[in-house]
Subunit: 433 residues, 2 copies
C-alpha cells in the first residue's frame, strides 16, 4: 500500500514511517522540519540525539533495503501539498503534520493563532488536495483524546446516541478541549466530518492518548534511527518528564492534586494502530473515530509507578505537587471507551512492562544530556502572555546547577532537594494558584 | 453604555449601531469595508443603494445629534483591534466582523481558507484583546443557528443535559455545521467557551437565524441611512431572493424539495436582541448561548408566503424547484428552542406582518436595480472549485436579458418563463443533482 506520512520527521511520524516501510508498504514522508525549529525557538533538545532526516533515511535504506520518499515542504502551502498528493498518489495519508503541544499554543496570542491557523489550514489543504486529486485515498488524521475534555459521563468513540424529549439521534460527541492546541484539533475534526459528508471522502480520526516510549523494533536497529524523547515543559509529556526527573534524582513535578486522568499508549501501539487503520479503510463518505489509547492513569498513578520503577534501579524518587499551571479539573470522573482498535486486532503493550526498558533506561542512558531548567512549568494557562522559554533558560540558578552535578554523579539526595525547593519557589511566584 | 460594534458597516452591524446610538448608548464602529469589497469581487450590488460610511455617519449625526466613533481597520490585525479596545474602552463589544456567507466559503479552497482564518483569527484577537485590556467587557458574538445543523432531536440553547450509562452531565450541544462558513462559527464558539473558562471572560454567543428585512426605525429616518438588501446567490438570503424574484415576475428558486427548515427573524428583532444582551451581561466566566430567531419556516413555507403577498400586490408568482446545490437534508425534523431572549423581554415582529412592508415593497421600489443573472446558484457544495461569479455575470444570455426587459415593463409572463427555463437548464448542467 502507498502511504504518505505527513510530519514524518516528528516523534510519532518517524516511528510510523519506519514501521510501515518495514511492513513492506511504499512510504513517503513530507515534512518541513518545524518540530526541530521549535526546539531552537524554545532553547530545548530531545534527550536522545536525533540525526538529520536525510541521514536517517540513508541509514534506513542501507539496513533494510527499503527506500522512503522525501518531500520537503509545508502542508499549509497548497502547491506543495497538492504536488505530494499528485506525485505520490497515496492510497492512505497519515496526517501528523501539526503543532501538537498544548503549552506551546498557550504561550501567547501569536502562538495560539499560529497553532490554530497552521493546523486548520494544513488540514483544509489536505482535504481539498484529496478531493481534487485522490478522492478515494483514505485520510488517517491524528486527533487527540484531549478533544473530549473530562465530561461527567462516559466518553464514546466520536459519536454518542442521545435520547432527548422522546426522540433519539446519534450525533458527534460534544467536545470540551482545554487549550488552543486541543481546540485546533476539534476544529479539524469538524472540518473533516463535513467533507466526508459533502464530498464523500473517507477518513479515520484517531483520537490519540498521551504517547510514551522511544523504542520501536525499527528505531532500535541502529542508533542513527533513534526517535525523539521530549521532556521539556512544552513538548515533553508527563511520563517522559517524570522518568527524566527520576533519573537525575529530581522530585517528580505533579501539577496540582494529580487526579487528572488521561488515556496513554506505547509508541509501539501508535504505529500498529495506524497500520490497522490503513488496512481497514473507512468507507466512502465515512468519518470514523477511534479512541487510540490502551490504559488510563491519573498523573499521581504515573508518579507512583515511576517511583516504584526508580526504586528497582536504586534511585530515590520523591513527588512534589506544584500549583497547576493549566485550567483543568484536578479530580474528575473519566471513563473513555477504546474498543474499536482492539476489535480490529490491536494487542496493547502495557505501561507496567515498558516503563523500565523503554523509558527509565533511556532516561538513564542519556542522563548527561538532561537540562533540568526546562522542566518546570512557566506557561500559565490563565495568562494571555507568558515569558518565553528562551529567556528563562538563560537564567539557571547556580544552586540548581551545582546540585544537579552532585546528583548526576552520586545520586546524593540533599543537594537535589535544595535545587527542587529553589525551583519550586521560582515557579510559584510565576504561576500563582 | 459604551458599545463597540465590530463590522458596523455591514447589514446587521449598521442597523445595530444606529439602534444602540439612538437608545443613548455611546457607540463606536470598527470596519474595514470588506463587505463592500466582496460585492466588487463577485460583481454584485445590494438592491438598495448604500452610501459611503463616512456620509452615513455624518447624516446620522445631523439628524439625531448623536455621533458614532469610527475605527477603520481589520480585526485580524491585532495592533488595530487592540488599539480600538484600549482607546474606546467598551463595556460591551458586539462582534459582527466576519465573513458571513456560506456560499462564499464554498467557492473554492482559497475562499474556504480565507473564511476560516479570517473569522477564527479575528475572534481569537478579540478574545486576547479583551483579556489583556478590558477583561470585564461583555463579548456579544454573532454565531448562527446553522452551527447546530438539523439533528433529529430538539435543538437547545447552546448546551444539552445528557443522561448516558446511568450518569448525567450538561455539555455543549453537539454541532453539525453544513459549510466552511458555518464551521468557522463552530470553531469560534469553542474558542470563546474555552476563554470564558480559562480567563473568566464574559460572553454571549447569539446563534442567530436567517435575518430578513431592511427597514428599522433608524434607517428609515433618511434615505442616506438605508441598509443593505442582498439578493444574489452568495450573500443574499432566501427570503430576500424570493421577494426580488417575485418583484420581477421571476419564478421563486426553491432548492430541492424545499423542506429545509430554519429559524428566521426580522432585522428589528436582531437589534433589540443585541440590546437585550448588552443590558443583561453574562456573568464573569460565563459563556451564555441564546438562539436568536423568532419563527421557523421551511423554504417552501416562505415561497408560499411570498406567493400570497405577491398576489395582494397584483403579481403572479410561480415556484420552481432546482436541484439543491448544497449538501443538506431536504426534509427533516426541526424544533429549535428560543425562549431565553423572550424571557428577557424580546417582543417578536412576525414575518406575516413584515413581508409586504419591509420586503416586497422595498423590492418593488428598487426593481430597476435588480440583476436577475446573480440569483441562480452556481456554487455547488459537492465541487471543490466553482466558477467565480465575476465570470458568470459576464455571460448573460440574450434571452434572459430581453425577457426581463419585458417583465420589468409589462409584467408579461411568457417571456419570463422562457428566461427562467433557460437559466434553469444552464444551472442543472452546472450543479448536477
Amino acid at each position: 500500500m502507498r502511504v504518505a506520512v505527513l510530519g514524518g520527521d516528528g516523534y510519532c511520524g518517524w516511528a510510523t514511517a519506519l514501521y510501515l516501510s518495514n511492513k513492506g508498504h511504499s512510504v513517503a514522508i513530507a515534512d518541513n522540519f518545524s518540530r526541530r525549529q521549535w526546539d531552537h525557538e524554545l532553547g530545548v533538545q530531545t534527550l536522545t540525539p536525533i540525526r538529520p532526516l536525510s541521514e536517517r533515511l540513508r541509514i534506513w535504506q542501507e539496513i533494510t533495503g527499503n527506500s522512503i520518499d522525501l518531500f520537503v515542504g509545508d502542508v499549509t502551502e497548497y502547491d506543495f501539498l497538492s504536488s505530494v498528493i499528485k506525485d505520490f498518489e497515496p492510497e492512505a495519508v497519515v496526517h501528523f503534520a501539526e503543532q501538537r503541544a498544548a503549552p506551546y499554543s498557550m504561550i501567547d496570542r501569536k502562538h495560539a493563532v499560529f497553532t490554530q491557523v497552521n493546523n486548520v489550514v494544513g488540514t483544509l489543504n489536505l482535504l481539498f488536495a484529496l478531493r481534487e486529486f485522490q478522492p478515494d485515498c483514505h485520510l488517517i488524521k491524528l486527533g487527540t483524546m484531549g478533544e473530549y475534555g473530562t465530561p461527567n459521563i462516559d466518553i464514546e468513540e466520536g459519536y454518542i446516541t442521545i435520547e432527548h424529549n422522546g426522540r433519539r439521534d446519534t450525533v458527534p460527541y460534544p467536545k470540551q478541549p482545554g487549550s488552543f492546541y486541543h481546540l485546533s484539533k476539534v476544529h479539524d475534526s469538524h472540518n473533516i466530518m463535513f467533507t466526508c459528508k459533502a464530498w464523500g471522502l473517507r477518513a479515520t480520526d484517531l483520537n490519540q492518548g498521551v504517547v510514551y516510549g522511544t523504542v520501536t523494533y525499527e528505531v532500535a536497529l541502529d542508533e542513527a534511527l533513534i526517535n525523539r524523547f521530549d521532556y521539556d515543559e512544552v513538548f515533553g509529556t508527563v511520563l517522559n518528564r517524570f522518568c527524566v526527573q527520576a533519573a537525575i534524582g529530581y522530585p517528580l513535578t505533579v501539577y496540582g492534586k494529580g487526579g487528572q486522568t488521561r488515556g496513554f499508549l506505547d509508541i509501539r501501539d501508535t504505529v500498529r494502530c495506524v497500520e490497522i487503520a490503513c488496512l481497514n479503510p473507512a468507507a466512502q463518505g465515512e468519518c470514523r473515530v477511534f479512541n487510540q489509547f490502551t490504559e488510563q492513569f491519573s498523573v499521581l498513578d504515573l508518579a507512583r509507578m515511576v517511583q516504584t520503577a526508580g526504586e528497582k534501579l536504586g534511585l530515590t524518587v520523591e513527588v512534589d505537587h506544584l500549583s497547576d499551571p493549566r485550567v483543568e479539573a484536578q479530580e474528575h470522573y473519566y471513563n473513555a471507551k477504546h474498543s474499536k482498535l482492539i476489535e480490529l486486532g490491536l494487542e496493547p503493550h502495557l505501561l507496567s512492562d515498558s516503563l523500565l526498558d523503554s523509558l527509565m533506561n533511556v532516561a538513564l542512558q542519556y542522563r548527561d544530556r538532561i537540562d533540568a531548567s526546562v522542566m518546570l512549568p512557566r506557561i500559565n494557562w490563565r495568562q494571555p502572555c507568558n515569558e518565553r522559554r528562551t529567556q528563562s533558560t538563560r537564567e539557571p540558578t547556580p544552586v540548581v546547577e551545582s546540585s544537579l552535578e552532585i546528583v548526576g554523579k552520586s545520586g546524593g539526595k540533599n543537594g537535589n532537594r535544595i535545587a527542587a525547593r529553589n525551583s519550586r519557589r521560582e515557579l510559584n511566584s510565576k504561576v500563582g494558584s
